[in-house]
Symmetry: D2
Subunit: 341 residues, 4 copies
Amino acid sequence: MINIGIIGIGRIGRVHGESITKFVKNAKIKAVADPFLNEDGKKWAASLGIENTYTDYKKILADKDISAVLICASTDTHAPISIEAINAGKHVFCEKPIDHSVKKIEEVMDIVKRSGLKYQVGFNRRFDHNFKAIKDAVDAGKIGKQQIIKITSRDPEAPPIEYVKVSGGIFFDMTIHDFDMVRYLSGSEVDEVFAVGSVTVDPEIGKAGDIDTAVITMKLANGATAVIDNCRKAVYGYDQRAEVFGTKGSIAIGNDSNSSAVLSNESGVTGEKPMYFFLQRYMMAYAAEINSFIDAIINDKPTAVNANDGLQPVLIGLAAKKSVDENRPVTIAEIKKSFDL
Amino acid sequence: MINIGIIGIGRIGRVHGESITKFVKNAKIKAVADPFLNEDGKKWAASLGIENTYTDYKKILADKDISAVLICASTDTHAPISIEAINAGKHVFCEKPIDHSVKKIEEVMDIVKRSGLKYQVGFNRRFDHNFKAIKDAVDAGKIGKQQIIKITSRDPEAPPIEYVKVSGGIFFDMTIHDFDMVRYLSGSEVDEVFAVGSVTVDPEIGKAGDIDTAVITMKLANGATAVIDNCRKAVYGYDQRAEVFGTKGSIAIGNDSNSSAVLSNESGVTGEKPMYFFLQRYMMAYAAEINSFIDAIINDKPTAVNANDGLQPVLIGLAAKKSVDENRPVTIAEIKKSFDL
Amino acid sequence: MINIGIIGIGRIGRVHGESITKFVKNAKIKAVADPFLNEDGKKWAASLGIENTYTDYKKILADKDISAVLICASTDTHAPISIEAINAGKHVFCEKPIDHSVKKIEEVMDIVKRSGLKYQVGFNRRFDHNFKAIKDAVDAGKIGKQQIIKITSRDPEAPPIEYVKVSGGIFFDMTIHDFDMVRYLSGSEVDEVFAVGSVTVDPEIGKAGDIDTAVITMKLANGATAVIDNCRKAVYGYDQRAEVFGTKGSIAIGNDSNSSAVLSNESGVTGEKPMYFFLQRYMMAYAAEINSFIDAIINDKPTAVNANDGLQPVLIGLAAKKSVDENRPVTIAEIKKSFDL
Amino acid sequence: MINIGIIGIGRIGRVHGESITKFVKNAKIKAVADPFLNEDGKKWAASLGIENTYTDYKKILADKDISAVLICASTDTHAPISIEAINAGKHVFCEKPIDHSVKKIEEVMDIVKRSGLKYQVGFNRRFDHNFKAIKDAVDAGKIGKQQIIKITSRDPEAPPIEYVKVSGGIFFDMTIHDFDMVRYLSGSEVDEVFAVGSVTVDPEIGKAGDIDTAVITMKLANGATAVIDNCRKAVYGYDQRAEVFGTKGSIAIGNDSNSSAVLSNESGVTGEKPMYFFLQRYMMAYAAEINSFIDAIINDKPTAVNANDGLQPVLIGLAAKKSVDENRPVTIAEIKKSFDL
């Protein structure tokens, strides 16, 4: 049984808290910490049988009985707390992205490497039953040599404009998951990126210096071409589809719905919309990623999503951003070079 | 090239006329006859390049250049004209049903047998691409030994009440196609029938002594059980589905639509309704059945749907009617016995 | 927080134990009892943090802190333990069927009525997201007046022949769920039953006096006709579909699969099989039914599936059995009369 | 009744000949011409009741009774015969592309404009029931303002390498239809193109200086982004899908199959592959485009696909080719400027 501390009990911290309690057999949440801890937070922790609630996460790091932490606080704290936690001898599960700064991610990677401790990044979609079915088919050779990879990723609604302003931009806040999916499904690195961005949802997003719609084309090291299409708002719900096409066939996944019910009437033949958003669609994936993390600790296995997996999508995101800004294809090599990588 | 005469150019006669012109290579319509022939009918015939138009079908029977006739006149004429045509040395394609009277069908069967001429009954669904795909899978052994056969057959709207009154009842007007499908898909005869009938669409149909909704269960000679569900009115269109379930799997077909378009919006994920009715859904099947008939003539092969295939569904229909009337299972043997068959 | 005791920790008892621990917020399992309690059972109970493990269920009934019990022992114990538990002042959740004997079920119903305690029967499918979607659409008037109800229910494999021999027969072991679905989806009682049974899966089942394949037609009090098709073995997995057709449209559900992945290759376009069996397909339904039971206790509401809901499908099953045996339609009134109901 | 001459009776010429005979009411093929006319060609013409067969197409142009010609000869003859035919006073239906040379297309456009005659280019997909359903939904405002357009277009097999060498390259031989679809579905011109090309099917195609796999991103004048993915070979058949996503929803189409049959067995749930290739998938679209052409002549309406619709995809193709060669986005303006357009 691994004792866990959760740092940050906002939305995603609570998702993990609840799914660990329900679905993760070999882990127990011993403490949570949040600088804004209030009565509601304490009540929530009590309802899950969590022993300790702190405002200061350092108390978690000081607890010798706790061997792993989940960092679910705001993005700017991910890298510094990661480093502190590793230095305190804790295994770390860190929500994505590790940081927007390549330099800071490198520092984390470096210290993780030297520590021998487990470090996992929160790319939950790798644990979704649908995406995993594609990956399994690709790895089993069912589609042969990869030729084209397509990912559709659209949110049901744009975040508040205040959030957009501090989000780091669509490529780091939203597409970063899709960049990870390209690497995960293909098992290949990305060589070059060309991105088209536009503002078709909300002019305020444009005024904030961001885009809300994007189509990103990538040349992969394995010779395949990948294309992602993104939009901040699809009125019919969270649209998360993917296809890998290869020399022996194609494997594709669609959306999940709340039921398989189909109504046939004078208006047509109507099924349910996709599940509303990530908390619905990926509920079980959140549990699976923590189970995988705990398994890596207990059985001393590499984590399924390591710190480098946290770094690469950031590099791709930087290339995508530069591609939109300069309207040209940008290589990952160029981005790496700019950071002396 | 086979010269054809069409007797009766109401709706179904014209469907055949047009589909033969378009799709049947080795046949030419030389003449049509209809007691109610008018200017519109003559114009229609001219548009298809048909040489002769008569009010009296006997002129077609007298034409030595015509070797085959299509009997598309009203049901009560099917049997007598069949006999006359056979006696005149013509191959006959006769719309279903041959007759509601078992005795008259037997007479036709008898004379056909002695003549050596081809006789085909218009069970068009046997030539539908979807039903044929089931049949092919069953014959190829893909589903193993048959266990359960299910047929859904619902019309988009009930016929006029005046038609209902002379239709012979739902089992002879509508279900007869489904009875044929049970025989076709299973390759087996029906042993026993239990039918539940109700009036859920239009009370006028009930007042006319008919039912508009039915569920018919059949025990087949091959050990499988078949079930048909019928309704005179499905608001979403012509619903024509089937499934054969067996020891190695199940093969099922759905409806055809005008397009594969799917609209996703706030109301759900909506595809098109099934094609409106039989003229749409079975357009190509009408052509295929005549091609098959012509092929049987030219290459002296048995017709794909012979006179006995016209008789059996009538026997099943009589059993179904009796089953509803007496609320008990009725064997085909009992029906046969009543006709000394 | 309601303290619960589970009587019987075989397969279904453990399913409930685990799903309550994960998904049922306001209940705590305080004790389990099983006459065959062994080390494995104790270990299992400990893993869920269950305080007490007994061989004698009477210890659960004697525990004043326990206010509700789940009866998951063998079918023959359902009725007597139900009565004992009610007499001990416990709310009861009882696995289906309450009993094969109508008389015993009546005794249970009678004592439940006088006690004022909650009694729920384990018809889990009522809590399945798919069946519930049909029910919601029907109740919302989306399909208008019901005309035809169709249920397909096929298991992925037949149970061991030893089990078949004591199962009470297919209608009480398997179809009973489907009879309940007919009542649930229609909101109507069944008036008359006609059933066709056959042995197409395993001749041993026939030798044991049972059938393994059935098609059951029912006339409902609301004027609709229902039809169930059953088979003990479908090689492609657990097949659980339903459709309600009415004057305004039809609502239908299909199977759930482990993923939405579709592989297109030279062999065709292939999706996953249905989930293997009830533990997979109805995992969340088991949690939902207990949540509903706990909710009924806490908020003093009628249970969603009461003792009468346990009785009616048994009456329908008796009618179905008699129908197969005597090859005639059998009314529920006839069955009731034989029990002086 | 419009008398037609077909110039070129290779594969596509015969497709038109047969579909006109079957499906085009107001047209009659009076003559065909082909420099390689042989016995087989004559026999084919006779089977359709075509009066005259020539080796020299000028005889068709000289026939006063013929008011329209279909140019189905090799691509290099399209522009010169178009001009000759227009000069001879014939309406022209010309297979795509008009030419690979922008200059020659302009000459055709110029002479067409001055002639007042009808000129239609053979972009048959505009007449496909599925693509048309998207277009109708877009035009009806069902998806709101367009944001992303996606087209998948994959052939079941690569053409012979000798054909590839003279095809003008994938963008002019294959993608040209997809470029037309982008314009048709969006109702907008393309502003800028970025294309990624690769050789993943057959290295011989690469040696011939062509690519066999491509992903092309386009910025449209209406603010939407379009993306096409192409491959010369999909083992599962002709893959022709499209989606238009907008502010009110998304409309998508899939492939057509030979039947709706679905086989469920131990291997999964398997439907049929897409129809093999364009002759199967677009059979009815070929008829519809000629009907539209004849309708434009008879009712003096603009043709549905005019000479400019023939020019624009060539410009987009040139931009795509340049984009691959120079690995940068290329504007249509740049291409136009190079031709003084």
